[in-house]
Symmetry: C2
Subunit: 148 residues, 2 copies
Amino acid sequence: MHRIYYSYDDFRNDLNVLTKKIDKDFDAILAIARGGLSMAHMLGEYYNIRKVYAINTIGYEDTQKLQSVTVFNIPDLQDAKSVLIVDDIVDSGDTLIEALKILKEAYPQTNFYTASLFYKKSAKIAPNWYVKEAKTWIDFFWCTDLGD
Amino acid sequence: MHRIYYSYDDFRNDLNVLTKKIDKDFDAILAIARGGLSMAHMLGEYYNIRKVYAINTIGYEDTQKLQSVTVFNIPDLQDAKSVLIVDDIVDSGDTLIEALKILKEAYPQTNFYTASLFYKKSAKIAPNWYVKEAKTWIDFFWCTDLGD
């Protein structure tokens, strides 16, 4: 399969594009770990938001090729009116759908928005904002840059 | 005050130094947000550890110039035998001391190790591993690279 290397410079440029697209206010940022962690870090600094949180997910093959996702380590969002959920890529969309479901159940009064760097058109859900369509395998710099 | 710019390349190089210093095993990585988030992301990928978590801290000036730190959003570490806590810099040491206190109280059976990129010699606690001594103000790339 064709693959592209996604460098830190690509990441920085795309985050600058993303921040120009995001046209809603939010008072907390929630990374889907691991993929959204670096993104949440940079955006938290950029927007001067100290409430930068993370949630964890485990995806596993269920019976009949159904993909199940479990979401855990939900942060305390009691004081957050509006939360930006970030992930590197919305692929099948299963992770984002499950995260939104759990978060909206836990915090029905909170607005949740979603942003990603990449989005696959075949995903079951689209983020509110994304930068690029994913058409191939992406080697993100955080996966490949360490080591000799 | 003299200040240095700490680029992504500096970060990547220093993480490669850090991974050569770390000589203990761990099965989870815990970022102190926001400073440790990018570090935890890259190390999680490097060590192939999916259990990458974050905690939050608020520091505030108490009476008499005492610095108080509150730690919150403690992840579920029940299944973790050994956890690497990461932060960008150990400055006064107050954050790390309070985080270790809370975490050891909550998980007395778990081993906690600590790593940072920078360490100030005047800090009240030293991390188990660090890369560089902090002698000046550091403009980390995640604080400065976004925007025009």
